[in-house]
Symmetry: C2
Subunit: 205 residues, 2 copies
Amino acid sequence: MAKRGYHHGNLRQALVDAALELIGAKGPTGFTLSEAAKQAGVTPAAVYRHFEGREDLIAEAARQGYEIFADLMEFAYESGQPSALSSFEATGRAYLAFARKYPGHYVAMFESGISVNRTPELAIVSARANGVLEKAAAALSEYAPPGKRPPSTMFSAHIWAMSHGVVELFARGAAGSRSPFSPEELLEAGIGIYLRGLGLVPPDE
Amino acid sequence: MAKRGYHHGNLRQALVDAALELIGAKGPTGFTLSEAAKQAGVTPAAVYRHFEGREDLIAEAARQGYEIFADLMEFAYESGQPSALSSFEATGRAYLAFARKYPGHYVAMFESGISVNRTPELAIVSARANGVLEKAAAALSEYAPPGKRPPSTMFSAHIWAMSHGVVELFARGAAGSRSPFSPEELLEAGIGIYLRGLGLVPPDE
DNA sequence: TGTACATCAGTGAACGCGCGTTCACTGATGTAC
DNA sequence: TGTACATCAGTGAACGCGCGTTCACTGATGTAC
């Protein structure tokens, strides 16, 4: 694991970790392959023993992010069971928590311009993450007054959009923080109001 | 206005336009000062007669974006009067319409990393845009059942977040479009549900 | 209307830089006997 | 345990590239008389 002279030991992951740190700190633009190599204590050329190039390294960082993300969502979902409502709310919170705790992964996944369809593995793991939220939405939507309820995919898209918007506008960059509320309280309140609008939460709870 | 030999005529704006086109097409990363100059039919060095450098050019593009954005929001707001509700809904729609119609401006404003506090003018015009949405939210929130209503700044932040999330996740890049719904219908429905949750729209309307 | 001159907006060559990538290489590791 | 050798993961030098920026310059425009 530790570096041992000429041979690194676990360079592949060390490069991914360096990339994640740089991406998180400077955005996808600021990230360079050379710098990641340097940070891992290695020549830029060494990167090519493990990745096809810069893009491939970013894609692997994103893939690991989706993996963690999906796990986190699943865990949140299950920890809220058997209540459909608390399961759903937990996944919403997990989204924000993930963005906070893994900024490098988050940026690699959603702001680096890496397409989810770049490789089959990436598509699969992203679909898995997506699936958890949709499952939670579907379960919850059964409790909604029939006639009125939107398709659960739309429902989950709304929550995803609001979560993402909160992250991008209010959780990132302390520089231009544009709101007097914490992202967590903003998102929590927003989801609460939304669910009330669906008739899933009693008006006065 | 047209190019007339050695002197361009209106190079400053031509550069901004070129920058907007490039930023919209390739993202903030893909944009280079040299390419913008080339597209305007001019040497890169000429840019320095009108801007301090690359950043300054992007900032001006963003500033013009905020200007248009604020105007559009104001117009939407007024066109919905005297109903507080329709005013509010109109500003929500205007957000998405702006993102669609002015992708270069949108990216320069929200994804280029240019801080709103970079210059006083930028701060002022962005506050103006922000103000319209908050005004609409404040007017509307008077109709909400008292006790329960959130501060109107939070309220407008929610709508802003959802709008931004929809734009980023579902309106950009036909490549990875992740939803079976159009962004417009997604946002419209989302805002509708949210407003119902606030008690601002009767449950069965 | 014509000339002299100041101002201004461009040119084009040059710079240093760091990038991603390639290549032949070499030092370290692991395995067969 | 010791030696020979194949494999592998790194080096380091080099590449071509396009970038943002600077500089002394020059051609075009506008103004004063």
